[in-house]
Symmetry: C2
Subunit: 192 residues, 2 copies
C-alpha cells in the first residue's frame, strides 16, 4: 500500500534493537483516517462478506481492528494479555513470548465470544517474529473456528515471522513489508 509505505518512510524512525517506531500514526497517536483506508485496502485481499468476526490482541492492534470492524459492519474480539477480575469462566489461553516486553505473556479470550465455526479474520498493526499472531491462530484453533486470513499493516520481513506463517499455509497479507531497516534507510520488499 503506497500511502502506508510513504508514511513509514517520512515519519518512521529506526531505533536500536530493530524497532521501527511509527507511533505518530499507528500505535500511540493513531491517524484514524489512514486506518479507514487500510480497512479498504484489506478488502482487496479478503472476502469480507464471508467473515463473521475480527480478532486481534491488546493493546496496539485494537485501534486498527476496531476501525476495520466498524467499516465492515462486523464485531471484533481482542485477546487480553493479563488476567483481570473482569474475565470469569471459560477462557481460551495461548502463551507467547513478547519481544516488546521481553517476557512470556498469556493471550486470553473468553470462550463465549468465539463460537465453533466462526469465520475469523485476524488483524494486527505489526508483524515481527509473529508471536502474537501465532497465539491468535492458536486461539482460533482452540475455538474450532475457521481462520479466514491475517491482515497486518506493517511486517518486518527480515524477522521471518510472516514467511513462517505463509509457509504454514496461512492467508497472510501485510500492506508494507520492510526488508531492511537502519537509521535513515528503510527498504520494502517488492510487491507482487
Amino acid at each position: 500500500m503506497q500511502e502506508l509505505k510513504e508514511r513509514i518512510l517520512t515519519e518512521g524512525k529506526v531505533l536500536p534493537g530493530d524497532i521501527i517506531k511509527v507511533d505518530g500514526f499507528l500505535n500511540h497517536r493513531v491517524d484514524c483516517a489512514l486506518m479507514m483506508r487500510i480497512a479498504d485496502e484489506f478488502r482487496k485481499y479478503f472476502d469480507i462478506d464471508n467473515v463473521d468476526l475480527l480478532l486481534t490482541a491488546e493493546a496496539s492492534g485494537i485501534a486498527l481492528t476496531a476501525i476495520c470492524a466498524a467499516c465492515y459492519g462486523k464485531p471484533m474480539v481482542y485477546a487480553k494479555k493479563a488476567k483481570s477480575d473482569n474475565i470469569e469462566g471459560g477462557l481460551f489461553k495461548s502463551e507467547i513470548f513478547s519481544y516488546t516486553y521481553k517476557k512470556k505473556v498469556t493471550l486470553l479470550a473468553a470462550k463465549d465470544w468465539i463460537q465453533p465455526g466462526t469465520r475469523v479474520l485476524v488483524i494486527d498493526d505489526f508483524l515481527a517474529r509473529g508471536e502474537a499472531l501465532k497465539g491468535l491462530c492458536d486461539i482460533v484453533n482452540q475455538a474450532g473456528a475457521e481462520l479466514v486470513g491475517i491482515g497486518c499493516a506493517i511486517e518486518k520481513g527480515f524477522q521471518g515471522g510472516g514467511d513462517r506463517l505463509r509457509a504454514a499455509g496461512v492467508n497472510l497479507k501485510s500492506l508494507a513489508i520492510i526488508e531492511h531497516a537502519e537509521p535513515g534507510k528503510i527498504v520494502f520488499r517488492d510487491d507482487e
Copy 2:
C-alpha cells in the same frame, strides 16, 4: 442512551466487587455498530467541530475511541499503561490506582503527540472511581492542552468518580449511569 441501557440490562452481569461485566459488547467482544451509534450520540453533547484530538487510555478505551475518531475524522492518542521500549524521549506521566488490577499504574503519553493548545475530547468505555480519567485530565493539563469534555459509555454512578469530576467543573457526559447494581437488578440514574 436507551439502546445502551437496554444492552446493559439484557446482557450485563453484576459480579462480586461491584463489577459490571459487559464484555459481550463493550470491552472484550466489541459490537462495533453500537460503538458507531455511541459516537453519534456523543455528537449531541460535544461540539466535535471544535475538537482536535481524542484521548483515551489503553486498553479497554481504545476500541470505542478509535471508532469515534474515525467517525469524526479526527486523530486519537491512547495513553499507555507501562513503559515499553517503543516509547522514547519526552513523556507526560500520571500515576493512578487501578482498581481492576489493584495496583498503581502510570499512564504515559508522548509529548510529541499532544501539543499545547490542542482541544482534547477524552473518551472512555467505563467510569467508576474515575482514576483513569483523572490521569488523562492530568496529562491534558501537563500538555497545556484544553479539555473540551469527557464522554463515557457507562458510569457507575454509585462509586462517585463521575460526580467528583462534574463538581470540579468538567464537562462530562456518560450515556448510561448505573445508580444501583446487584445480581439480577440494575437501576439507572434518571436522565435530565
